[in-house]
């Protein structure tokens, strides 16, 4: 069972920092007991959340930061990613979520991917402005074999 801990990072709205987030995510989730597939799913989802935050939330404005918080709990990982954008109605979006297999769409798959890969996904507006996405995945035991 892993020790409870929290790590918070804030970075400018630039793709160059996503690699750092991926590395931190790998370090935080290592040895928690996730299977290799689950670790991949967490990594992919965190990158999607940060990509959405910097692209859609902050409109890639270099003066706007993205904040990522990793909360390692004994039975799960909780990741919060906050941007400075206007936000959107997540539950309304879910009613009309685009078909991810539509090859005519260049974008718009991030939320679908996060929803499919994580155990829980929610968005909430932040009091001082901005939007926070909360991702959660339960430890799965780590015994699953890769195909």
């Amino acid at each position: 069972m892993s020790e409870e801990m929290m790590i918070a990072l804030e970075f400018p709205s630039s793709y160059q920092w996503l690699n750092m987030i991926d590395l931190v995510c790998g370090e935080v989730t290592a040895e928690m007991g996730f299977s290799h597939n689950a670790l991949n799913e967490i990594s992919i989802s965190v990158i999607e959340a940060c990509t959405n935050a910097l692209e859609h939330g902050n409109k890639c404005c270099p003066d706007c930061n993205v904040r990522a918080v990793f909360r390692r709990l004994p039975d799960r990982i909780v990741i919060e990613v906050t941007d400075c954008g206007e936000g959107f109605d997540f539950h309304e979006y879910l009613k009309h979520i685009p078909d991810p297999s539509d090859i005519h769409k260049k974008r718009g798959r991030g939320i679908y991917i996060m929803k499919a890969m994580m155990d829980a996904l929610d968005y909430e507006r932040v009091q001082d402005g901005g939007m926070k996405v909360i991702l959660e995945k339960m430890v799965d035991g780590g015994e699953e074999e890769d195909e």
Binding site: Y15, T51, P100, K106, R109, G110, D146
Partner: protein, 113 residues
């Protein structure tokens, strides 16, 4: 993202490396596909073995290349797809769209029959 282009008969192989994501990568890849089409090269394999990571925007870049080539009676097939990219393709059902190969000769042969 960086790329190198090589040829195997009528098939063009694009070796991508680095990170496949948003920003200027989309413009670079779109221009590359259009350049190939102007040269009459419509059969394309994208080798992802040196891609360190990808996001859904990066997958969208591949889809744009795929649709552009298909509209011009060509095709885009993937080579050396990592577990992470496979996961994204599977979840989005795009694994039903892209033909994926682990062996370059097999990928080239899939075009030449």
């Amino acid at each position: 993202m960086k790329f190198k282009v090589r040829e195997s008969g009528n098939v063009t192989i694009i070796d991508l490396s680095g990170k496949l994501m948003g920003g200027c990568d989309a413009d670079i890849f779109r221009d590359l596909i259009h350049e190939l089409l102007e040269k009459g090269r419509r059969q394309v394999i994208v080798n992802l073995s040196e891609i360190t990571w990808v996001n859904s925007t990066g997958v969208g870049i591949l889809i744009t290349g795929y649709t552009t080539l298909r509209k011009n009676k060509g095709d885009l097939r993937l080579l050396n797809v990592s577990n992470k990219i496979q996961s994204i393709l599977y979840v989005t059902k795009l694994n039903l769209i892209f033909e994926c190969f682990e062996d370059e000769q097999a990928a080239v042969a899939s075009f030449t029959g």
